[in-house]
Amino acid sequence: MATMTMAKALNAALADAMLDDERVLVFGEDVGQLGGVFRITDGLQARFGDKRCFDTPLAEAGIVGFAVGLAMSGLRPVVEMQFDAFAYPAFEQIASHMAKLRNRTRGALSVPMVIRVPYAGGIGGVEHHCDSSEAYYAHTPGLKVVTPATVEDAYSLLREAIADPDPVVFLEPKKLYFASGEAELPARTAPFGRAVVRRPGTDATLVAYGPAVPVALEAAEAAREDGWDLEVVDVRTIVPFDDATVTASVRRTGRCVVITEAQGFAGVGAEIAARVQERCFHALHAPVLRVAGLDIPYPAPMLEHTHLPGVDRVLDTVARLQWDDRPDPRWLAQGSAA
């Protein structure tokens, strides 16, 4: 076991994938000599040459469309979008081509490519640098959408993404890039579609992914003081979604809070809450609740702590899981106690 950052583990995953498979090409904006603005591609150009790791013109639709063409020719492109909100020009290429080419051609063409996107907030980034864009991708059939929360998962899931026969949007939580963790590389944690119980508990299940997982774990620790033993499930792959692991956990605990950093309305958290409710209704002692970002454009850095779900907001929500039959004071305040 060694201690390393998630950034280092992602870098190692790219290097090992390039070493194992000559078809893997890494490209994007500033990923060559500079090694990427977050240094995730650091040293790859020096090690593998500028035909395997290279800078492109500054045009996200071009980068993704070019990668689709390269994949059609039999290569395995891994591209970097510099920031979440800067990936939007590529959305047509992602939604209309990358996600659909296999389907349009009845499987004759496939697009085994990966788009790496540094995403979400918590780093004090200025405007357009901190969006949680996972719902846009998760709503697009044909894409796999993955987000690691630990150093080992970062390595393992990225290797899995590059080897996958389908296009993968790989969302890297920026605020976790330089968080250290224990990892034994090359790590192999789980194939796509397997959530994991990060912390066992008996009283309620916190479901989270990516940047919300550390928040959930911290909240679970803090909840011990209030006498609650909380289980934490890390989704890992938003698509394909692991209903089985989430459902099994909620059936055990009987209560569920879904935590996402993204704004809540029509988001991935809403989907998870609906799925849990559809599958666990008779096991539930309380409605499934959500803790999400506010339904606002991503705020300026000095205000982001109000927006982001924190431990206190999670604990307040856990407290509303109808541990007794007193009405929820929030509904009382709105005059609809019934």
Partner: protein
């Protein structure tokens, strides 16, 4: 201090700064000719030969004529099938036969074509089964042919997105040591889309062997070219990306084939992309669902009838003694047989399988898709029971 004419006059030649040396023109070889290249007059009379643009072999021109005649008949049949309800919609390329067939003849079978929805004639001219070409428009699936077999991407309905795919595929092919060329079709309207520019730019920066072939048929549905661009012509869009460009009379089959052959050779030789603009005209409406009389003057359409590419090539080949009444009749009969076969096969109702909806979303269906497939399977079984 201002410089007066007197001051200029008084300056001694010896004290003048040396004139700026004349730098070589950086646009040399990039700009198109100021007028579209033309090798035949509209009546088929050959113009003086050009040293820089060898005329295509006459056997190739005969084959071009054959495929143009068959293509035009195919196009008319597809329009008729739409009126009979066999196709959801059909965008005709009548009048653009020289472009459709010329592009195909300039390529090898293992080169890649990136077509739009208006390239049905080009795809049948490439030898793809016309039923497979029309699958998208009939509506039983999105793409009827196997792109890896016919080296042709699915017909692209979003505009210009195929331009970057062509750049990527062409670069990927050359990266893997193959000398494949990609040809991307695009219309005049789509040159306003960002992906056209990103495609040209990526192809140029990576020296990808791509030919971008703009069929400027003057209208994007109803919007005329003057609303798309203020450029002298669309071929002038190449110079900004360092891409050599040419414009050609798109209704002159000999010129289209000659210019595209040169462009393909340029790309195959490793010199990077090439942009060709063909000036042509969409004789029909945008699709059968469109009414072109709302935005086009009938006199304008009539004027283009006099520049018909099929009649032009026929006249030229007859004047060379390469075509006679018997050959013309034989080709016309072949076109009729082709159309009749297509009509018969399109009148058969295609079978569609609802359960196939779940195949090919991913390499392996997700657990959620497996659940939904079982739901649909149960619905179908219940329906079948109800019918029994």
């Amino acid at each position: 201090m201002t410089t007066t004419p007197q001051a200029v006059r008084r300056a001694s030649p010896r004290t003048r700064r040396p004139a700026t040396p004349v730098a070589p023109d950086p646009t040399a070889g990039l700009l198109p000719q100021t007028a579209p290249v033309r090798l035949l007059d509209p009546d088929g009379t050959p113009l003086p030969p050009r040293a820089d643009l060898p005329a295509p072999p006459v056997e190739t021109l005969r084959e071009m004529y054959r495929r143009m005649v068959v293509g035009r008949r195919f196009d008319a049949q597809a329009t008729a099938l739409t009126k009979q309800g066999r196709l959801a919609v059909y965008p005709s390329s009548r009048g653009q036969e020289a472009c459709q067939v010329g592009a195909v003849l300039a390529l090898r079978d293992d080169d890649w074509v990136f077509p739009t929805y208006r390239e049905s004639m080009a795809l049948t001219a490439r030898g793809i089964d016309p039923v497979e070409v029309l699958t998208l428009l009939r509506g039983d699936w999105h793409c009827g042919y196997d792109p890896t077999v016919v080296h042709t991407a699915p017909q692209c309905t979003p505009l210009a997105t195929q331009c970057v795919h062509a750049a990527g595929l062409a670069y990927g092919e050359s990266y893997q040591g193959r000398d494949t060329v990609a040809l991307a079709f695009i219309g005049d309207g789509a040159t306003s889309e960002g992906d056209f520019h990103e495609g040209l730019n990526f192809a140029a920066v990576f020296k990808a062997p791509v030919v971008y072939f703009v069929q400027n048929n003057k209208y994007a549905i109803s919007v005329p070219l003057s609303r798309q661009t203020a450029a002298p012509s669309l071929a002038y869009k190449g110079v900004g990306y360092g891409v050599p460009s040419e414009q050609v009379d798109g209704n002159d089959p000999v010129a289209v084939l000659a210019v595209l052959t040169r462009a393909v050779a340029h790309a195959r030789a490793g010199h990077g992309p090439y942009l060709v603009e063909a000036h042509t005209y969409r004789m029909e409406a945008h699709t059968n669902a469109d009414d072109a009389s709302r935005y086009r003057d009938p006199d304008e359409v009539e004027a283009w009838r006099d520049r018909d590419p099929v009649a032009r090539l026929e006249a030229y080949l007859r004047s060379r003694g390469e075509l006679d009444d018997a050959a013309v009749a034989q080709i016309a009969a072949e076109a009729e047989a082709y159309a009749a076969d297509l009509r018969d096969r399109m009148h058969a109702q295609p079978t569609v399988d609802p359960l196939s909806l779940f195949e090919h979303v991913y390499a392996e269906p997700t657990p959620q898709l497996v659940e939904q497939r079982e739901m649909v399977r149960a619905e179908l079984a219940a329906d079948a029971e109800g019918d029994a």
